[in-house]
């Protein structure tokens, strides 16, 4: 777990493997149902023009999350 970082700290082009979701109950369920489960690879695609939210690619689809929530998702950086 020592090499896990928050999803919000990744820059466009970087990929990570989700290790933990520290979001509150219902939000966690919601995020997971969109495909962000532990062990899934997630890639940062781009940041919205005004700096937030961020577009991610996960399970072949594109999902957008704000940095505030992404900060609560832990990933293991993939190189």
């Amino acid at each position: 777990m020592d090499d896990s970082v928050s999803l919000a700290s990744l820059s466009p082009g970087q990929k990570g493997k989700i290790t933990a979701l520290d979001l509150p109950g219902a939000q966690k369920g919601r995020v997971m149902e969109m495909g962000l489960t532990a062990g899934t690879t997630i890639e940062v695609i781009k940041v919205a023009p005004m700096g937030d939210p961020v577009q991610y690619k996960v399970r072949g689809g594109h999902i957008s999350l704000r940095k505030a929530e992404a900060a609560l998702i832990q990933v293991q950086l993939l190189t």
């Binding site: 369920g29 149902e33 919205a48 023009p49 957008s64 999350l65 704000r66």
Partner: protein, 691 residues
């Protein structure tokens, strides 16, 4: 239709999978839009016939990602599938539409559907897209693994529709037997809880599963009996004790199951890396830091420009048609009260509104394209930061954008917003967006204000009016979020679906629906209002038969009402005739134009060849100065931008919020805002030396 129904079929799936296209392809024009009993969500149903002519009902469920709902829209799909809706039995079969090019994510909802105990047919849509991306799907293996029929389809060109009909009319339809396996402890808890629920045996398992994975708040809101509530809490505690998170365990189990299936049935041709798709390339421009905004403004400008230029041709035809009809009527019927009622009341009033049909259709055409192409989600993406500043999220932007067409679909579109307070805030501000009913008022006022202006200049002023509504909506949303409906900024979780070429047939069908609604309104509400207005402006007749038309108008009930409110609206620069228009348009804004038409036609019927605009421009105040100065026109437009003048919206807000509190509050705050806005424009403008 008294014929016996062979089967009731529900069609479900994630948003953006072509669900409506399949619905339309199956039912054609045999559709009807109604409401679910008790709730306000629109229920779209249709008829279709099986391979041997069996009549079946097709129920279009709102697109949803899960049965574990977070929005009123998804609640409808869940309640219907679980048989929770009184008087609506569970469907006999569920068509689940999935995007073949992204099975990794789309099979998730299939996994849930298979847990319901209802026969499922999977419509594997967009196999052409999957093929183009180099994906091969082993259909036999997929059928085998899911244990239900799988129909490959390309709904946009009706490929697979016949096979789909065959699949749902087959007898018997076996119940699904395969599904994702949850941890054994979880299954035990489900079985235990299922016995305690009041639900019928077939749906009790799913009910129990859904209760178990609710969080504290969701559980409180579920209105369970004290016994059941305690049992769910105890079950959750036991699960946590066994090291199982009740929220993530079922999701993990389903996705694991989906992943196993996908690795067995989806084969990639060629190199693993698919490279940049067309969709990715489009995104490089459309959500780019600079080009994204340029594209957004360009699209909006093009839309408004078309509303002005392209629409003017059919509008001229309608105008000419109405004039011809008026002349013909006047020739057929001897002059008198009845002729006046038909020509000045009915034809002027209704004709003045119907003429805007082309512009409304163009607006719906553009919004339809933006929606179907997937651009709306991008607009929400680039706008989210702005929306989060006022405490909302990007999803609130879509209802607001729809409100540019009409606040009614806008208010209905708020159903995708999870949080109740955010939904209310969005409903409260949505009617501030300039809807198409305001368009007639803007068009006439701009023409009166700047007779010599070109199309570009007019579009510019129009854009300013739209911007004013948008800014007012933002400011008011911020105010409401800080005061009345205080709550935290909600989480954003937005899918950015791949761009797709919009299907013109689907858009045309919706335009047709809107046109029908608009014309029905013109034929009922506006027709009735036109007649009432005509009567108000005609009676009582002055005792002196030599009275001028202007004196007769002042003598009428309408004239007296206008005079009565004149002191109140005089600070805004309005006289009593404009007052009549404002009073009249409290039911529907577009009536203003018709009313002005009636007022001035009645007054100067001798110059009936002159258009309304010229007549308004020629209008003088008692002191001889022109009434409709540019400043008065602007003040009047600002009033119409901000005021709530639409009975239909009031009715839909009452339905959606479940009471009179919010619609009455909305009328009050918007009227105050409109008065204040006009006052500032007129008095401020005068101080600055404008006329």
């Amino acid at each position: 239709m008294a014929e016996a129904l062979f089967r009731r079929v529900a069609i479900a799936g994630n948003p953006n999978t072509g669900k409506s296209t399949i619905f339309n392809a199956l039912t054609g024009l045999r559709q009807k839009v109604g409401n679910y009993p008790g709730v306000t969500v629109e229920k779209k149903t249709g008829r279709f016939f099986g391979s041997h002519g069996e009549a079946m009902e097709l129920i279009d469920l709102p697109g949803s990602y899960s049965l574990q709902v977070r929005s009123p829209d998804e609640a409808v799909a869940r309640d219907l599938l679980l048989g929770r809706v009184a008087g609506e039995p569970r469907p006999d079969v569920i068509i689940t539409v999935v995007d073949a090019s992204n099975l990794d994510r789309h099979l998730y909802i299939v996994a849930q559907m298979l847990e319901l105990g209802i026969p499922v047919v999977v419509a594997l849509n967009m196999v052409d897209v999957a093929e183009a991306r180099g994906l091969t799907i082993d259909l036999l293996e997929l059928k085998e693994r899911l244990g239900v029929p799988v129909i490959p389809m390309v709904a946009s060109n009706a490929t697979g529709i016949i096979e789909l009909k065959q699949a749902v009319s087959r007898t018997p339809l076996p119940k699904p037997e395969r599904r994702a396996q949850f941890p054994i402890v979880f299954e035990t808890e489900i079985a235990h809880l299922a016995r305690l629920t009041a639900a019928p045996a077939e749906s009790s398992r799913m009910e129990a599963m859904l209760y178990l994975s609710l969080d504290e708040q969701g559980l409180r809101e579920a209105n369970l009996s004290p016994t059941l509530y305690a049992a769910v809490l105890a079950g959750q505690t036991r699960l946590r004790g066994a090291g199982i998170d009740p929220i993530s365990a079922p999701v993990d189990a389903r996705y694991d199951w989906v992943a196993t299936i996908c690795s067995a049935v989806v084969h990639r041709r060629g190199e693993d890396n698919e490279g940049l798709t067309i969709s990715d390339r489009l995104d490089m421009i459309l959500t780019h830091k600079v080009w994204g905004w340029v594209a957004f403004v360009a699209m909006m400008s093009l839309m408004f420009f078309c509303i002005f230029t392209v629409a003017s041709y059919p509008m001229d035809w309608i105008d000419a048609g109405v004039s011809a009809l008026k002349n013909w009527t006047a020739d057929q019927i001897p002059a008198g009260n009845f002729q006046s009622l038909l020509v000045d009341g009915v034809l002027s009033g209704v004709g003045g509104v119907v003429v805007f049909l082309p512009q409304i259709l163009i607006l719906f055409f553009f919004l339809g394209i933006l929606e179907d192409s997937g651009y709306m989600a991008r607009a929400a993406f680039i706008m989210d930061r702005l929306m989060s500043r006022v405490g909302l999220h990007g999803k609130s932007f879509v209802p607001m954008l729809s409100s540019f067409a009409c606040a009614i679909p806008g208010v209905m579109a708020t159903r995708t917003i999870e949080n109740r307070k955010d939904r209310l805030v969005t409903i409260l501000v949505a009617p501030l967006m300039s809807c198409s009913a305001r368009l007639p008022v803007y068009i006439v006022m701009i023409a009166v204000m700047l007779p010599a202006a070109g199309a570009l200049q007019r579009a510019g002023i129009m854009l300013c009016m739209y911007a004013l509504g948008l800014i007012a909506a933002f400011v008011m949303a911020w105010v409401f979020k800080k005061t009345l409906l205080k709550s935290e900024t909600p989480m954003l979780l937005l899918e950015l679906p791949p761009y797709r070429a919009p299907i013109i047939r689907g858009i045309a069908q919706r335009m047709w629906e809107r046109a029908t609604i608009f014309l029905r309104r013109a034929g009922t509400v506006i027709l009735a209002l036109s007649i009432v207005l005509w009567a108000l402006l005609t009676y009582p007749k002055p005792e002196n038969p030599e009275a001028t038309k202007s004196e007769a108008l002042a003598h009428s009930i309408g004239g007296r009402m206008g005079h009565a409110i004149e002191p109140v609206i005089a600070p805004l620069g309005f006289d009593w005739k404009i007052g009549i228009g404002i009073v009249a348009s409290f039911a529907a804004r577009e009536v203003f134009v018709g009313t002005m038409g009636q007022i001035y036609n009645i007054e100067e019927a001798d110059e009936e060849n002159e258009g309304l605009r010229e007549q308004m421009r020629a209008e003088k105040r008692p002191d001889g100065s022109p009434l409709f100065t540019p400043l008065v026109c602007l003040s009047l437009m600002v009033f119409y931008v901000l005021a709530m003048q639409c009975v239909s919206t009031v009715a839909i807000v009452r339905r959606e919020t479940g009471g009179w509190t919010w619609p009455l509050f909305q009328i009050a705050y918007m009227t105050a805002l409109a008065y204040l806005g006009s006052l500032i424009v007129y008095q401020g403008g005068k101080l600055l030396g404008f006329q």
